[in-house]
Structure formats: C-alpha cells, structure tokens
Amino acid sequence: MSRHVAMLRVGPIAFRVGSAWKGPTDALRRLYAGYPVPAVPDFTVRLEPQKRWRRWIAPSVAIRGDYQFVGAAPLSLAHGLLAAEMGMNLQMALGLRRYLLLHASAVERDGRAVIMTGHSGAGKSTLAALLSERGWRFLGDEFVLVDLVTGQLRPFPRAVSLKNEAAAVMRAEGAGDRLLFSLDDTPKGRITYLRPDDAAIARMDETARPALILFPRFGDAQAVRLVGPAEVFVRLTQASTNYVTLGEPGFDALSALVRDLPARAIDYPDGDSAVALVERLWAELAR
C-alpha cells in the first residue's frame, strides 16, 4: 500500500492519490481542503520512486496509476504537487468515458457558460481566473466536461495552475491569499497554484448550459475574428482527449456545440482588455 494517501472529489470525478513521500499528498490536502472526500475513487494515481533506491537518494517521482504513459518523464520531489496534478490529468485524459472532455477553461453566469480553449500558453487559465474575480463563477481551467446526454457542462474546479507572470496578475486582483504553492523551474516554467474561490467549490455540482465559445490568445493587439463551423469543429476535436474513443456519442456532443454556439477568436494585450472583450461578446452573442 502507498504510505501516504489523499482522496478528493472534483465535480463528478473522485481521485485517490497514493504517494511514497509525505510532501505531495500533504500539499494536495491543503490545496483541496474543503473538497468532498470520496469513499470509492473513479481513478487512482500513484507517485512512486522511479527506481526503488530513488525514494531516498535524489528522489525521482514517477507518475503511475490506472492509466499511464510508459515513457513519461519522472519529476523531482520538489515538483511532487505537479506530479500529482499531472497524474490526475492523465487519468482524465486517458480514462474518462462519461463526458466529452475538452482541454479548455470555462466560467458561468446566470446558468450559462463561456468555453475558452486554445493552445497551451494562450492564456485560457489566467483569463478564467481573472473572470472569476470579476463576477463570474469559475467552472474549471484545465478540462471542460460536456454531458453526453444533456449537453450541459459539469464543473471541474481544480486548482488553477498559473504560469510565470500570471501569478502576479492574480495577486493584483486581490486573490493573493489563495495562491498556495509556487514551484520553480518546472518543465513548464514557474507554476503557482491558485485555489478556486469558495463559491466555485461550494457549487461544483451545479451544471451550466454552454452559451459561447471563445479562442483566446494573449499577446497581440485587441482583435475579434469570426470562426466558422468547420474551424470550430476541427479546433474542438483537437482540444478533446477522448473524442475518438467515445465514438458516435462524442461526435454528437461535439457537433451539437458547433451547431448551437457562436464562436469567436479573440486577441488581447492585457487582462483588462480581455475581460472587456468577453463582456462585450457575451452581451452581443451568448445564446
């Protein structure tokens, strides 16, 4: 048995994380304090020494579990929390069949949601975190779960992983007391974990109806571009980790999003203009 265990439920998915070291599971318990503790998990993650002797000497954390990549690179023990988070993401990406899974962030207002998806580093996490400080409910920054029967979104409010300067943006928003862990020199740069606000956690079982799709991109001058259905379809299939394995139900759920929702690509130079753009498009377009 693993020496250290953390159990947590995020939205509809329950995890069991076992670790050979105390650090990663302690960090998880602190980051996810107040989340429901499940009795039977949907997925198991194991953080183990890459080789047996590496529990003690130059500890190297291998990410294993119900589903695993054979060639996945191990992380240093200092990045144990990242390993736990990556382990949970991996189970979702490789194992989840109940929902169409989109690599995207989402926020909600009045029961309706904006789905934001784009390449890694496009700013979808930061934008979702920013909007959740300005009147929106945070649904998730990593995965959007689309119910295959109803088409509703199930919130999956995991801790937000903020890259590099994004942590300073959130501190300026007054969310500093929820910035709990900062990991330097990870393969993705510096990662700071932001705990979602209390409303996002308390309402994690409240679904939302998708109303708008945005493809945000941070860095350029402010711009809005209409995205046609063919491009939306291709970009959503690329953003989905289980579209192919789901077969027909996945196709139906994904094409319903393409058919029913307006979609725009937005460029923005900073957070304020991004929020202003989202508000404007929401007022004009949201179904």
């Binding site: 069991r16 949907d42 194991r46 394995t245």
Partner: protein, 336 residues
C-alpha cells in the same frame, strides 16, 4: 484475502461483491483495471445492486469495451480487405476472434493488437500486401528484426500509418525455438470460416492456443484474463458432443498436453470451471503459478518482483536453448 482474489471471486460469483465495503470496491476496480478485466467485470456485475460511487465506473467500462470491440472488428475488416486478393486463409486469434465469432469470452473483453495467423508459405506475400495497404515496421533495430524473422512465430509487429493500430502476423503459435512444435498446418486446415471470409481456430485449437500463450510464451502476465478466456471457452464448448476427446487429441497433436492440462486445472481452481470432480488439489508448482498470477495489490501494483523475475527467466528458458538464451540476454543487456 489479497486484492486479486477479490477480483477472482467477483468474476466467479458476482453476488459476492455485494458484501464489499468501500475499500474492497476500490481494490476490486483498481485490480480489474490493472488486469484488463474491468469490462468483463462490469458485465458480470450488471445485475447486482451497486453502490452509487461504483456504477458510473462500470458503465464507463462497458461503453469502453463496446468501442474497443467495434474498433477491433473494423481493424480485422481492414486486414481482410488488404489480404483478400491473395486468396490465403486469414485466421483471427484471441480477442478479435472471440469478438468476430460472438464467443462468450468477448463479453466486455479488452482487445489490444490485431493478431492473425496465416500459412507460413504465404508470409512474404502477406507482408507485402499489408505494407502496400499502409502498415509499417515498428522496430527499426536490425538485431530485433533478424531475431524475429529467424526465430519467432510471428513477423515483427507492424503498425498502420493512419490508424495507429498494430497487427501481429503469426505463422504458428509458439516460437520456432520452443521445445514443443505445434502443428501449424493442422491449425489452418481445421480452422472455421466466418461469413465474411475471415477464419477462426477450431474450438479445441483455441484452448490449445490460450494455454500456449499463458505458459509456454510469456512470463504469465495477464494470466487472470487468459484463464478467464479458457474458463468461458470450456463452459461454452464443453457440452458439444466429442469436444473433450477432440481437445485431448489436439493437445497431443500440438505437443501441448501439459500446458492444456495445467490451464484447465488452474481455471477450475480460480473460476470453478466444471471440468473435474470437485476443486483440484494443486501441486506446489501450480500454487506458485497461482500466486504469481494473483500478485497484484489494491493499488494495481504487481508486488512480487522475485516471483516475476523467476517466471521471466523461465519463460525465456522455455523458448530458447541455453546457449542461445545466453547470447540473447547478452545482446539485450549491452543495448540497455
């Protein structure tokens, strides 16, 4: 009770699962996943009351197995189209064969690569036809490639460049270096045609192949699933007139009597296959095998490295003469 025995008991007697607590369910689901038996388990438990935390996972597993079965049959159809012009018999093996013929082991079963058997004299034609249809070599290592071609019972694995699916093309069911020599020609000539022209092994030969796969080839990994196949096949065919005598004849013909006998005894011990009077009393060696096959803890780990290593060496020992084994292990060691 170890975690793997919870799985064996739930497969054998689904009602036993109703007595599990949360920790028991957690172990059951984790081990079932690790042994690629979660879909099978999900179907076995379909009619018993399940805790709310468990039923979505098992529903997922059933849906997933259905997709896997459909994809496997599609892959078989792709191979059929590529090979049909050659006019050689193409025999599906293992999971895809069970699914194509609708046999009992296919219910909820996971299926990995597509395994086919073709006559040895047709192997070059088959290789060219598959390559022309988009399959490519996985291994670009000259030693491995030469080893496969000279000594193995199959071509080096091929993968399809668009669909990313693997095919193993066998010309017999044991490596050429093994002590036993199954009669590959007899496997082909006794095979049975399916409506679409693809073929499956005759029932008794399926049991022989499962036994080969479990004991003479490999380090017993996946043994629980393999023996579940054996159990389901024996239950399905056991009442056919003449089945048991045919099985004895075919096992003798393929020089696999010991392995078939062992597979039957272990399947009776684990899953209660109705083949003998009462449960068999296992020998020490058989108990060791049962221990190895069930060496899986509640976190999905296989925890007896010593037992595992022993069986790994044994599996190679069975496959190769000693001097060849030494040369093989030396080559592999230098490449690490």
């Amino acid at each position: 009770m170890t975690s793997a025995t919870i799985l064996v008991r739930a497969l054998r007697d689904p009602a036993s699962a109703t007595a599990l607590d949360a920790a028991g369910w957690t172990a059951l689901l984790t081990v079932a996943r690790a042994e690629s038996l979660i879909g099978t388990l999900a179907h076995r438990l379909a009619d018993i009351p399940l805790p709310p935390a468990v039923s979505p996972t098992l529903a997922d597993a059933r849906a997933s197995a259905e997709t896997v079965g459909r994809q496997a049959l599609w892959e078989a159809e792709m191979a059929r189209r590529a090979l049909a012009p050659l006019g050689v018999p193409v025999i599906l093996l293992k999971g895809t064969a069970f699914a194509a013929a609708g046999l009992d082991p296919s219910i909820g079963r996971s299926i990995g690569d597509l395994d086919i058997l073709v006559p040895r004299e047709a192997i070059d034609q088959v290789e060219s036809a598959l390559k022309a249809a988009g399959w490519e070599w996985v291994k670009d290592d000259a030693y491995d490639d030469a080893y496969y071609r000279r000594w193995m019972h199959e071509l080096p694995p091929l993968i399809h460049k668009d669909r990313d699916r693997m095919i193993d093309v066998h010309h017999t069911i044991l490596p050429m270096t093994a002590r036993q020599t199954p009669d590959a020609g007899a496997l082909v000539s006794a095979s049975i045609a399916l409506p679409d022209g693809l073929r499956i092994l005759a029932p008794a030969d399926m049991i022989v192949h499962a036994a080969c796969h479990l004991f003479a080839d490999g380090d017993l990994a996946g043994g629980l699933r393999n023996l579940w196949d054996v159990d389901r096949l024996l239950r399905q065919f056991g009442n056919d007139p003449g089945f048991w005598s045919t099985l004895a004849e075919r096992a003798a013909l393929h020089e696999m009597e010991r392995s078939v006998h062992l597979a039957m005894r272990l399947s009776a011990h684990l899953y209660g296959t109705p083949i003998l009077q009462g449960a068999p009393r296992l020998t020490l060696f058989e108990r060791l095998i049962v221990r190895r096959i069930q060496a899986r803890d509640g976190w999905g780990r296989a925890p007896h490295p010593f037992t595992r290593l022993g069986f790994y060496i044994r599996s190679h020992w069975l496959r190769m003469p000693p001097t060849m084994l030494a040369r093989h292990l030396w080559t592999k060691l230098r490449k690490r």
